[in-house]
């Protein structure tokens, strides 16, 4: 069924991620620490984007005199 396949595909991607970043060799709590750090950095980046990107886009459009 589609959900099972989706889950299998996601597990495979997570496994590849563990292998490529060498997290596979670390203990589970170390993996949790690294994953939380990574997710928090990514979340902060997304939040910053959400807050500031509209202002930046308006400033750029203003500069090129597309909108006043």
């Amino acid at each position: 069924m589609a959900l099972g396949d989706c889950w299998k595909q996601l597990s495979w991607f997570y496994y590849q991620y563990l292998l490529v970043t060498a997290l596979y060799m670390l203990e589970p709590w170390e993996r949790t620490v690294f994953n939380s750090l990574l997710i928090s950095v990514a979340a902060m980046a997304v939040y910053t984007g959400y807050v500031f990107v509209p202002q930046h886009i308006m400033a750029i459009l203003n500069y090129f005199e597309v909108v006043q």
Partner: protein
């Protein structure tokens, strides 16, 4: 057409020996992976120093804190933080003979590989692609081992002395005569340990005032022997004839450092097959260089004797050169003959000199009689002197297995180093976690491989090494290659390997 007669060098078939580079993203990922584990290693060391975590490794005592630190160098750091985490893939205890299939003892660890305990079960019938069993002589077939049993009954097992004192058995002389006949040389001498053959005999051959030109990827025994001898050592790039020639010319022109006197001897040390790459030495070109510049050649055929060549005589037969052109032929009995020990063969003058001047000949215990008889019977089998064609069948089977396995692996798109004729097949895995996952998953699927990482290979070129054997059957090889973490297109596969450039 006035091209004239071709030389032997030009006529030999160009052997296809690629050393492919990995794609850039693979190298970057490998460094990132190592960087991450190193950072966590520093973090764990900090926790151990502060006392939040129990330290399982050796530590200095508090009274020694003012002295030079013992455990802070990179090697110890690597050992504590990278090797210890994953060391269940090495030193696995075996409880059967290392034939084409073997049994492993099952062991598990409760504290992330700091300690192990045996569960009491064995893992039976694991396919063995890690042992150096090229011709399949590591066997316990009663018919083949009859002469070994007879000699053990006649001579016992211990010799209790050295060759020079009172343990020069007639069996040893028979072995040496047989080895000399096998290689087509005048005379040979056999030693009890392969590593000691190199490290103890090179000091007898060269000394201060001599020059050793050794290949970049030579084995530790050659390097140790060269260092012990006290000669000047210069290293040339692996299998690179331009580098070697440049060094020879420079050495002959400028002589010894500081005094500029001519070198007493120049010795070129190479191996027949390099065990970590599977590449074969360029013998005809080295012989041409040696003759031109009047140097001597030391050829270490540890992996290639018995395993290459149409009748198993090694790289000299593979390239169709005269074995007497190589000044010192060395080899071991460990790999293709299923025994232990090594030999040095060459002119009678050379071997007689070694008999009197080598540390191993004078001080080391002689070879044990059952081991000697095992080598004798294996060699007679290969030469066909025992009346059958079992030996030649094994040599042909090994060549066929090698060609088949390498061709199929290349088809599947892996990066493989080495010559097409060499039975040592290293598959590059690059990333440290992939190496570990590969070994564990292969064991789960009942295939025992040897994976090698940093100290034995460059840090970015971790690999898995397959050693093929004449005792492997076609179904076994298929099981190994199909059950592997393979098939980049199939999402069921779990270790996507970097594919070769040719397949893009």
């Amino acid at each position: 057409c006035k091209n004239g007669p071709g030389t032997g060098v030009a006529n030999s078939l160009p052997r296809h020996e690629p050393f492919e580079q990995a794609p850039m993203y693979v190298a970057v990922m490998t460094y990132l992976g190592y960087g991450l584990v190193t950072l966590f290693g520093y973090f764990r060391d900090f926790l151990r120093a502060v006392g939040l975590e129990k330290c399982h490794v050796a530590q200095e005592r508090s009274e020694q804190k003012d002295f030079v630190p013992l455990y802070q160098d990179f090697e110890n750091f690597y050992n504590r933080n990278l090797y210890m985490r994953v060391r269940d893939n090495w030193n696995r205890p075996i409880c059967s003979l290392p034939g084409p299939v073997f049994d492993l003892m099952e062991r598990i660890s409760d504290d992330y590989n700091w300690t192990f305990r045996f569960t009491g079960r064995t893992i039976p019938n694991v396919i063995n692609v890690g042992s150096y069993n090229y011709l399949g002589f590591a066997e316990n077939n009663v018919d083949f081992l009859k002469t070994v049993a007879e000699k053990t009954q006649e001579y016992g097992v211990g010799v209790c002395s050295t060759r020079q004192e009172i343990a020069n058995l007639s069996l040893h002389q028979e072995l040496e005569q047989l080895v000399a006949n096998f290689l087509g040389l005048e005379s040979s001498m056999a030693f009890g340990m392969g590593f000691a053959t190199n490290s103890m005999n090179i000091p007898a051959l060269v000394g201060k005032g001599c020059l050793i030109l050794s290949d970049e990827l030579n084995h530790t025994s050659l390097i140790l022997g060269a260092r012990l001898s006290g000669a000047t050592i210069r290293v040339f790039k692996h299998n690179n004839m331009h580098s070697l020639e440049k060094m020879l010319r420079e050495a002959i022109c400028s002589g010894q450092p500081r005094t500029h006197r001519p070198w007493k001897k120049i010795l070129i040390m190479v191996e027949g097959i390099y065990s970590m790459e599977g590449s074969v030495v360029r013998l005809p070109e080295i012989l041409a260089l040696k003759k031109k510049y009047k140097a001597y050649l030391y050829l270490d055929e540890a992996h290639s004797i018995g395993a290459v060549g149409p009748t198993g005589r090694g790289v000299t037969e593979l390239f169709n050169v005269n074995a007497a052109d190589v000044d010192i032929m060395m080899g071991t009995f460990t790999k293709s003959f299923g025994a232990c020990g090594g030999y040095i063969a060459g002119k009678k003058v050379l071997v007689d000199y070694i008999r009197r001047h080598s540390h191993s000949a004078i001080y080391a215990t002689a070879m044990s009689p059952p081991v000697t008889e095992q080598v004798i019977r294996a060699m007679k089998c290969i030469m066909g002197q025992d009346g059958g064609d079992e030996g030649i069948r094994r040599v042909r089977q090994l060549a066929e297995n090698t060609r088949y396995f390498r061709a199929r692996l290349k088809e599947m798109g892996f990066i493989i180093y080495g010559n097409d004729d060499s039975p040592v097949v290293p598959i590059l895995l690059y990333m440290p976690a992939k190496v570990v996952a590969f070994a564990r998953e292969m064991l789960r699927r009942k295939i025992g491989v040897v994976v090698v990482g940093f100290p034995a290979t460059p840090i970015t070129e971790a690999r898995a090494r397959f050693c093929l054997s004449a005792a492997h059957t076609r179904p076994m090889l298929d099981q190994v290659r199909l059950l592997r973490p393979l098939r980049l297109h199939n999402c069921g596969c779990f270790l996507s390997m970097p594919i070769t450039i040719s397949q893009r």
